[in-house]
Amino acid sequence: MLPEIVAQNTSPSLSVPWWKVVYNFSPLTEWIDKSLHNAMTPFWTTVTEMLIIGVLILLFYALVGLFLVYAERKVCAFMQNRLGPNRVGPFGIFQTIADLFKLLFKELVPIKNADGFLFNLAPYIVIIASFMAIAAIPFAKGLHAIDLNIGVLYVIAVSAMGVIGVLLAGWSSNNKYSLIGAMRSGAQIVSYELSVGLALITIVIMAGSMQLSVIVEAQRDGWFIFKGHIPAFIAFIVFLISSTAETNRGPFDLAEAESELTAGYHTEYSGIKFAFFFLAEYINMFIVSSIAATVFLGGWMPFHVSHWEGFNHIMDFIPPFIWYIGKTFFVIFMMMWFKWTFPRLRIDQLLTLEWKYLLPINLVNVLVMAFIVLMGWHF
């Protein structure tokens, strides 16, 4: 069943308007793939494709990271009656680039009695975990690095790997604050991974597939958050909360809790190693937001209201990539809003929230969703 859907959607029919053809990236990627195959052996084709994708993702990664840091600073500044960065470039847009250069040139302070190998390894693990997750995200039709048939599972699994880096960083720094931060982070991710998974499973039940492209296609006639009645909405809220926790962002930023542990697990890091942690935090935020956008808000699918043909046409005209980015940034904005409004939770309350509230709600929610799907009550 699955390959049929994919095949059906990748072949553009003539009745589709031109922009829909243009907005479909699969002919382009297929053409690149074909011409590479003509030029060299399959092995070298794969290598070249990997390189191209790697470089593109790296660029995208850096750009998104820089932009998100800037966006966060501006958003929090406006919420706090401030202007935020406003010196470097117009409206301070080059502020993060200046910060990047500052971090690049900063001294990497060696730590006495630290476990040197693990200390240096930790930032890479954190950044690789987020780097791997980005590969599976569909940015637009036909525009993703790899369309795994277990995409959802893959993203959950890979993004949870980051905690190993956090634990290593805390343990190897030879700093007591770092260790407490790392331990907190471990407990936190282990718990909240559960909620993230269950919230996504609610939608997987509805979509009938774990493949992200299929999930997006299934939302052509309505986003899952609208299609799935209340359970989908609850799942969305739960996902929002638990993914905020999973990315170690406020109000769940216990691992780095500034007022308690100074900087938590990355207290001892400086320069580019610190920048890796910093960047990974924002990219993780981007990844969980794009998962939320893909699974709940229809990914790159435009917003449609049934029977409003004119409105739907206008919506179709907006490129899918813009839709995707817009939805992602909406979720990111929500997460920033949380962070800059709420006080931080305590570690036991954090676990209480997960095990006493989110998990039971989630389990009931999954059941309800399964029932709804079974009875065919969804739209």
């Binding site: 958003v75 406006f78 809003w337 709420f342």
Partner: protein, 159 residues
């Protein structure tokens, strides 16, 4: 049953209280008019300090380069932390009398706590506060200032 209702009530009230908080921050986010940041170095021109602002101690001179300081040393006595040092000299007035007068009124800005005791206790109102507030210099020695201008004299009629 009751416990389930309480459980749900707890959740709904909790979420409601969180939404109230988000309303506050959100309302400020969408009202950029409430921003209070001042772009300091670029707004220097229209940055006016209050007229009583205690920037630094100065000795006002008139256009004839005259001040009112008689060199009595009361400010030096009153200063809690030895900011002011007065070096006096003896001059001979027109009618041939020997008289104590100020040679140097040394003011160490780096030590001053701006308590205004010197200004308040000066019997001839020779000292005042200026509104200047940018005192940063690259050399600590520059913070030691001589308040009376070179060649200045005591104003006529001030004893």
């Amino acid at each position: 049953m009751r416990s389930i209702i309480n459980y749900l009530k707890e959740i709904i009230l909790g979420v409601w209280s969180l939404l109230k908080g988000m309303k506050v921050t959100g309302s400020y986010f969408f009202r950029p008019g409430t921003i209070i940041t001042q772009k300091y170095p670029s707004n220097r021109k229209d940055l006016v300090m209050f007229d009583r602002f205690k920037g630094e101690v100065v000795m006002p001179h008139n256009e004839k380069n005259e001040h009112k300081c008689t060199g009595c040393g009361i400010c030096e006595l009153n200063c809690p932390n030895g900011t002011i040092e007065i070096i006096s000299k003896t001059i001979i007035t027109e009618d041939g009398k020997k008289k104590r007068a100020i040679d140097k009124h040394i003011y160490r800005l780096g030590m001053c706590t701006f308590c205004a005791l010197c200004v308040k206790t000066c019997p001839s109102n020779a000292l005042a506060f200026s509104q200047k507030f940018e005192h940063a210099v690259f050399n600590r020695a520059l913070l030691i200032k001589t308040l009376n201008k070179p060649g200045s004299q005591l104003m006529k009629g001030v004893e």
